[in-house]
């Protein structure tokens, strides 16, 4: 027993100089087979959704009475092959699913990015400076965390989506978002509103986690020596505190994407998020539910991507957690 424990660290140190920190993480991550498979499939999905306008076989919103409810893998009355069938308005499911992936994944990604940035910044400030700054941020955090999140998400989203024209979003920004999501600028405004709402409530967990990390990191001797050398607070935070508190944040970000993805789908499913004709997995599923008695295959089309992404992102988060944990060896 003692023999093996003394050999393993020796092994580690002999290999250490040739490997950077990130190479170690990568090597460890690759051991988690399911996570690797999930990551590869997810990246493929992202690439496919990025290419949506190029590979989509039909126009996104073109309704057609002759081709309603065409089942998957069949040829419709017009002689077109429908990979995933058509919806209640005769729109091609495969085409809409491609665009929906872009909208759903993109919304989740950007909302989590904003929420994590806010959370990391506030958590870092609260943890590092302490005192009244910490009290103000922590109290705000507690109050926001007491609110029934789903109710407020629904209320905020419903307000913003109804008032979409009175929200000041610069045209160039709306156009940029429209380009990112491959939608019209008007649709991009609604997507932006939903991103805002989702990020507004998503930062509390990250902030709490970051604050805790910073509280432990700032006690390290290297922070003290850095300060003794005359480094400014910004430099200490940026060069020493942030990189050392980063690993749990990466896991948190990954799992955050899943939470946001599910939240966005739920909002759109209930009719308070992104609205038809902009396709998202959530609102496609909501329509599919109304017709599932006549066409049982319909709800499967939009819900399978949601299931896949949820599970895949969770496994990736799991793999990252194991890979980034310094207490684990090998």
């Amino acid at each position: 027993m003692t023999a093996t424990t003394t050999v393993v660290p020796g092994d580690e140190t002999s290999r250490a100089p040739s490997e950077t920190q990130w190479q170690i993480v990568l090597r460890r991550f690759r051991k988690h087979k399911i996570a690797v498979v999930s990551l590869v499939l997810l990246v493929m999905l992202v690439i496919i959704s990025a290419l949506a306008p190029v590979i989509a076989p039909f126009p996104r919103d073109a309704p057609s009475l002759q081709t309603r409810f065409v089942p998957p893998f069949t040829v419709d009355s017009q002689g077109n092959f429908r990979l995933f069938g058509t919806d209640h308005l005769g729109r091609d499911f495969y085409t809409r699913l491609l665009y929906a992936s872009r909208v759903s994944l993109g919304t989740a990604f950007f909302a989590t990015l904003i929420a994590s940035t806010i959370g990391i910044l506030l958590g870092m400030i609260a943890g590092y400076f302490g005192g009244w700054v910490d009290i103000v941020i922590s109290r705000t955090l507690e109050v926001v965390a007491t609110f029934p999140t789903l109710l407020l998400l629904l209320i905020m989203s419903s307000i913003l989506v109804q008032n979409i024209n009175s929200i000041p979003i610069p045209d160039f920004f709306a156009n940029f978002l429209a380009w990112v999501f491959a939608v019209s600028p008007r649709e991009a405004r609604i997507i932006f509103a939903v991103i805002l709402v989702l990020s507004l409530f998503g930062w509390t967990g990250t902030a709490r986690l970051m604050r805790g990390m910073v509280l432990s990191v700032r006690e390290n001797v290297y922070i003290e020596s850095s300060r003794a050398l005359g480094a400014s607070n910004v430099r200490i935070l940026g060069r020493h505190v942030f990189p050392n508190a980063l690993p749990p944040m990466i896991v948190d970000f990954t799992l955050g994407i899943n939470a946001t993805l599910v939240a966005e789908s739920a909002l759109s499913f209930l009719g308070f998020g992104i609205q038809d004709p902009t396709p998202t997995w959530g609102n496609m599923l909501s329509f599919a539910q109304s017709y599932m008695f006549q066409h049982p295959w319909m709800p499967l089309i939009p819900s399978l991507p949601i299931l896949f992404c949820s599970i895949a992102i969770n496994y990736i988060g799991d793999g990252l957690r194991d890979a980034l944990d310094p207490r684990q060896r090998g």
């Binding site: 209320i155 905020m156 109804q162 209930l270 308070f272 539910q289 499967l300 299931l307 599970i311």
Partner: protein, 397 residues
Amino acid sequence: MVAFLVRRIFQMFVVTIVAALLSYGLLYLVPGGPVDALLAERQNSGQDRINQADIQRVQQRFDLDVYLPFRFTRWLIGWPSGPLFGSVGADWAIGCQTPGQVRLVYPDGTFELVEEGCADYLTLAELEGRRVSRGVFFGDFGVSQVILRDRPVSDLIATRLPYTLSLMGASILLAILIGVPIGIYSAVKQYSRFDYTMTTIAFIGSSLPSFVFGIFAILIFSVLAQRAGLPFLPPGDAVGVRDYTIPWIGTVQAGSFLDRFLRFLMPVSVLTFINIAGWSRFVRGSMLEVLQQDYVRTARAKGVREQVVITKHALRNSLIPFVTLLAGVLAALFGGALITESVFNWPGLGRLFIDALGRNDYNVVMALLFINVVLLLIGILITDILYTIVDPRIRLG
């Protein structure tokens, strides 16, 4: 303890007021509402055009002509309801009955009427005799504006409450009864096949969206079962409207106990499944932590039987963090499961919230939000107090 209680109740009070202010302010920003609804109704039906008096009447009924701060206080505590102390300030303006109109004439001769200032102020004296709620703070939530026009919101909530309570109560109870033993067993047999299976199921259960679960349940147990000629479950609603026949069971009368039970089954199962994941994971984590404690090792070293170690030494201590979950349970019992209720068209409070929000019935939305926040806060307070009771090491200060 007393000082703690006083401080916490004061904090709760502040948070409640802030939440009320926020929710009221938020919803005030939403367009639509009774006046717009009336306008649209009239316009669509093609009847006589709506006139200023109609608008005024509707505004009066829903207090829309009172300035926002006072409308808020009237909503929150039912004040002011007339001149102060009976006579002071009878002619003070507190709102605007008819906005003033200014005629803007453009150089090319066209003109436009713009609302500007106020032509007819609403005074405190005029508020007298107007129906006002006793205030949300005292449990009067006013009247519903759209869903059940003019009926008290509390009536609406009272009719929906039993459905939510039964659904949430049954599913939480079942989830605890099933989830806790699973969690304990997983922890005791850590890394066994059972543990791996349960962890994976819990992992999937906690990461998947509940509406996908609900729809899959309907798909399998209603749609596909019915198509295959097997016994199936009714897909939604709490009570049926007409009789239906289920293979092997026979005809089910609408509104009978069997009908209600069959419709109850699916939403409860879905919610239970989702909750089991959370409970079992929680208990497993807490149990694993306790099993590593010194006193568990001591008990084993003394030769106490494993079964007694688990039930007496480990289990009882592992249930201490359990009370933290109670904070959420209280609000969940009342708030219901928004998404699951929507999927199964279950007439509970969650569904009511979605309906009210979708149809701009603000009083109902605000009442539900307000009740939810208050219950959450009460839940947290109860949790803190319970904590000191079950764990003597913790003192409130």
